[in-house]
Symmetry: D2
């Protein structure tokens, strides 16, 4: 069955096209900075939003009627959904996808039944992958929807819930390995607290570290060689999530000796909920050598929850691509559209339009970022601000060969420094002119 019969495969037609079902900037074979666009981005469809999210919110049920969700048998729907997903990705030329276990296959009445359901779908997906060349970017387990996880999964106060989480992660890692996924992701849904005064935070974080080590070890045992990723988010659904932001997670990973196997998956909307810019989180992950993937979306700046809009803000895309280019790319990671249609975007074509908008925005961001990095007008100004650190004394400082008494002596010798303008307005202007 064809689910999008009226939609032709989306083609690159250039900026002047007035076909709203074409790419204007995303040209997958265009080479920028020694790689094709396809290689730079490794775009992925998010199974949960694009295939499962009918537009519901806390104030009402979904508005979109999916032709792949009309059966009364959940497994039939799951199979139809898989067909729809691969048709959609093929028509969009999206080379990867990401999924939670429960997106792909329905939870059963027991651990065994859930595992069987998942296995059935994984086998079908493998065939789909072979047929289309589409690959799995990453897999993950949904450890937050089932009521049993209402107090957390790995951090649940009840050990028997931790066991359930373990069983589920085991199966999800197996599925990821079977499907050849490049990464395995942990988003800490309800790993956090809704109330500080009924929670032993130290104990729960200790459990989380322990759990992640077990997950890592199991993956390595069964042959998983990709990255494990943690996706920071400060709040929602919990009042406070343990994986608050990049710096918090980096500190946690080092504390638990996980820094070699784990990297970060940075999401724009999670960044802004934490009081950071998207670029900030990317930069701090990259500075730590831990930028492992990107969840590409956009948060409404006036709303204090995860709105997960499709990314159409050029500034965010340019800034993100500067960081990505300067840090040498995402490696095995990619750009996953963890974004949902607005509740009132109810035409079937809207899913295509939204993904096109996101891909074009990032493609254009890449082109402009490459221009800025190559022309070096921004980069050189930044680097030149630190020229004084090429002086011998400053180099000693950087190596830890000076004492504070040495600094004192140098201060007396050098006298009052001259002020050096940061020239922020100039750089903002250069970036604007590059658009």
């Amino acid at each position: 069955m064809e689910f999008f019969p009226d939609i032709e495969p989306i083609r690159y037609e250039g900026p002047d096209s007035d076909n709203h079902l074409s790419f204007r900037y995303y040209d997958e074979n265009l080479v920028i900075a020694d790689k094709t666009m396809k290689e730079h981005f490794r775009f992925a469809m998010a199974y949960w939003h694009s295939m499962c999210n009918a537009g519901g919110d806390p104030f009402g049920p979904g508005t979109r009627i999916f032709p792949w969700a009309v059966s009364s048998d959940p497994m039939e729907n799951a199979k139809a959904r898989l067909d729809a997903a691969f048709e959609f990705m093929t028509k969009m030329s999206i080379p990867f996808y990401c999924f939670h276990d429960r997106d792909m296959a329905p939870e059963g009445n027991s651990v065994k039944e859930s595992e069987k359901n998942l296995k059935t779908l994984v086998d079908l997906a493998l065939r789909k992958q072979a047929d289309t060349g589409i690959k799995l970017l990453w897999g993950t387990a949904n450890l937050f929807s089932n009521p049993r996880y209402m107090n957390g999964a790995a951090t649940n106060p009840d050990f028997s819930v931790v066991c359930q989480a373990g069983a589920q992660v085991k199966a999800a890692i197996e599925a990821t390995v079977a499907l050849g996924g490049d990464s395995y992701v942990f988003w800490g849904g309800r790993e956090g607290y809704s109330y500080l005064f009924n929670t032993n935070t130290a104990k729960e974080l200790e459990h989380m570290g322990r759990f992640l080590k077990m997950a890592r070890d199991y993956g390595r045992k069964i042959g998983f060689t990709g990255n494990y990723l943690i996706e920071p988010k400060p709040m929602e659904p919990s009042l406070h999530q343990y994986d608050f932001d990049a710096s918090t997670v980096i500190g946690f990973l080092h504390k638990h000796g996980l820094e070699k196997d784990f990297k970060l998956n940075i999401e724009s909307n999670h960044a802004t909920l934490a009081g950071h810019s998207f670029a900030h989180e990317l930069r701090f992950a990259a500075d730590a050598g831990m930028l492992g993937g990107i969840d590409a979306n956009y948060g409404e700046p006036m709303n204090g929850w995860d709105t997960d809009n499709f990314p159409t803000n050029l500034y965010e895309a340019i800034e993100a691509m500067i960081v990505v280019l300067e840090s040498g790319g995402l490696g095995k990671g990619g750009f996953n559209f963890d974004a949902k249609l607005r509740r009132n975007s109810t035409d079937l074509e809207d899913l295509f339009i939204a993904h096109i908008a996101g891909m074009d925005t990032f493609a254009r961001g890449l082109i402009i970022a490459d221009k800025l990095v190559n022309e070096k007008r921004v980069i050189d100004f930044r680097d030149n601000r630190y020229l004084s650190f090429h002086e011998p004394d400053a180099m000693k400082f950087e190596k830890g060969e000076l004492t504070i008494e040495d600094l004192h002596a140098l201060a007396l010798e050098k006298g009052e420094p001259e002020l050096q303008s940061g020239k922020q307005e100039l750089i903002e202007s250069i970036i604007n002119n590059a658009i």
Copy 2:
């Protein structure tokens, strides 16, 4: 000269007193949980706000005319200010104070002159301390007001500014040691960025780590045995400060091998600006064994900048004192009133009223927290949520002796867990009833 001639020493008169210049709850000799209130709190006056802040804001100059700030000679004012400070603390029975170098002595026209000014005042302060028994809780250097620090101090792109900062910290540590301070504090004023795209964040943070080690080593060399403290703040004056919150700072300290010498000084208003509750930041510092001090104030929840109100919110005080009591107290740390009078609180007595309000609020917080901890109705409920971790399998889990396959087997064996209510509304109710 007496600066507050109309104000008698403030005495404890009990809850029923209608003398607004008396303590209703703070009874310094009252023993709670084996320590006097005086010992629990080690309250400190913040020199900068209480003695220097005339009420100015970005929209207008100060409104308070300090009788100790009327000379045209800055050194004369500094001496008068010192007298006023000790008179104020004596009348308030506040046993400690905290200061920046520039609060106590004016900056001179050269490093040498600044050092001389500071030395003069330190000598006078020593005499004052001997006369009154008042002690120094902590000292610090103002590395943010002088224009030279507009791009940061230890993280300035210009090495000659780093040298100036070094010279200033050297003198401030010497002053702190001379005055017998229990801690030395770093608040990272402009250590951060105002624009990400003219900043090399990795390099600047490397410099910051380096600088702190030098400061630590110098202090240890000259005999400082107290704690170094870092005070997290997410933003303001910078767009983004490196010491964003407790978790960020804890990760940074570990990365740079500073975790043995450094602890955290947690401020309520900084916590809320970072999207955390005061109690959250205290708890996370305490969980890491790094709670070294408290800046006691309160931020207007509707305003997005550091309003630094005097702390009068009982809930914050109760929650803070639960964490402090459970973590065994602040040790050499104390409660510093980093709080300022509202701009339109212009009566001389308002400074007394505000400190009384803060001390009474925390005293009452201590009494109630002690009740809650002793009755254990809150604590026991929390602890009992984790009872399942006393089972043998769970204890193995905690010791790292289980694999995820073991969890899987246990999940099959144990079956679907029962839901356990978090009972947040009940605990909130118990806390209310303890007030």
Copy 3:
């Protein structure tokens, strides 16, 4: 069938009771300021949260299994739910309830079927009311859950949706009148925009005014003599809601000539989402003579969405009750618990505990507010700040009998004014001491 067989009716047992299923402060017959507590508050149960909300959120389905929601026939569930609601209110001594049409009766497959369902339940509810003495505080129509309202109801760009909304409001007003409701409420769910650039805001607001007039006229025609209420909320589910806050709604009502029939229903969590304190919104509604009701809840200050916690913050309760007492009470309005249990509060008793917590919090708020208003230490200070307006010139100013040239002449004559302290810290301290 009894739905809460293990719960005895909740009684007032005083502050020292350690029965968590008793009132400690809410004593319905206690007279404060010439009215019983019961009369002051007119507490109401919110049908939607207390009877319908199983704890679902955007990240997972509900966690609470209601014994009144186990049938496969929606009408059977609706009848059982009605029984449960009246059993709950009776055991709680809650004298009122509030409902949306769809809370009480399920939507049918047509307008007619929906009306029939509602009528059936209204008849049953009438009998319940007669049996128990419990009354309807207000009714309303759910104009936001059904997908047809995804672009708004009265403000929908499609006139046929406006018609549907009209039909639904007609039936909901009829139900409210039949049940003797004191008010009829409009909460503007999706009346707002999700995107400014596909929306004609002027036209939509014109339609909203028109629609409200029609609703008002119909109610008056069929004998409704109560208040119409609008409940401000700034955002969520829409990006931006038209009824942003009290001031916005007051301006709107005047513009459309609705100010005689409409008042405001103020919710704490909506106030804080709009950047106001709860007390601010209450005061501005009261200043305009338009305070018509209260939705009593509490928003997590660190979360940017409508968390709808049960109200347990004493400060908010005290401040609210000062405004309510000073403005002469809520008249036909009341305090509706528009609050939901935390998702992980899954014990059946938690619903009782949460309502007790809310009622006790407000009861205590009333006792303290009454003390503050009677002792007048806060009120008198406030009023005395304006004493200069009793001077003859100032009275002329207030009457509009002075020109700016007169002010100029008076300025020259009076000279530089003396500063008058606002004494905020003192008042905060007095309020604390009254607790």
Copy 4:
């Protein structure tokens, strides 16, 4: 004396220029939509930021040393500042300026002396205006810096402060009239409250209305025919400002019968502090026929105070210009750069660079907005969503000729409406492609 000797007049050189001291998009004579760019924007320099703001913030004094602020005589500085201002505007081709009384002339020791100072400078400015052709866009009085205004100006609890404010506004209106200003602005600095419980908000707002009427009447009496403008801002310096946002101010103006003489001056950063987008505030002012001027700046989305960055965000500029074009322009209003250099932008040329950046951003915004409005792809989609309101029944609805019973009958007749996609992602995409 020439203050910017190294800066040549800034010229339009087109998008490909690499001269950072040239315009790339702002071509003052280019005609767009029947007007030159110069006529569209009527750009103005803000005297206070550009000439007076040396870069100070709450954590340190200014960093910029102005060559026009080196005398010990405030009047000499004021005269030099005036020269610098006109040199700057001339070199920038900025045709207008805006000022507070105290920006132009220092406050004296008495009302009379202040008036004399102002008069002296106004006479000099008149000559400057004649020499250069530069005009006054608007004047205003600084009613917030002097400590006397710490509790408000027109809303001060002390009538003698209200008199001072009256005297000051009288002189500022006279200066504005003398200089031929097109508008006179009220920004309600401290008209609001820092604490609700020592404030009689109803009384203060009554005084504010009274005061504005007196100001209006005096202006009209002495021949002022321009607009009075109120500039909304939600908070800062006060905890809460009375002129919270556009809707609040519009309601206030109607209540006090001021809606014929007063319009709104909308600032981007004030909009976002109030939880609105810039475009929202512009649209709501325009919908009410009250868009009278714009303060062009940009607020850091992650910081909760008025950062007043120079406007370089293209999206904000495009959206603003769509609203301005659709509402027929600003009339006698203009775009005032109420923006300040970052504290660390210390080169003299930075002031030019920043204004160029702002002017180019809006020029480009105008070009793109004009394209979008003319192509109508955005506008038509929006308008077509409301096509159903051209039906006869819907037209009756709009005229108030239907009852809710009629809507009910129509609902039965029309049946369930079809869902109409809002197509937000498509429109965002079209706007992106127009850049």
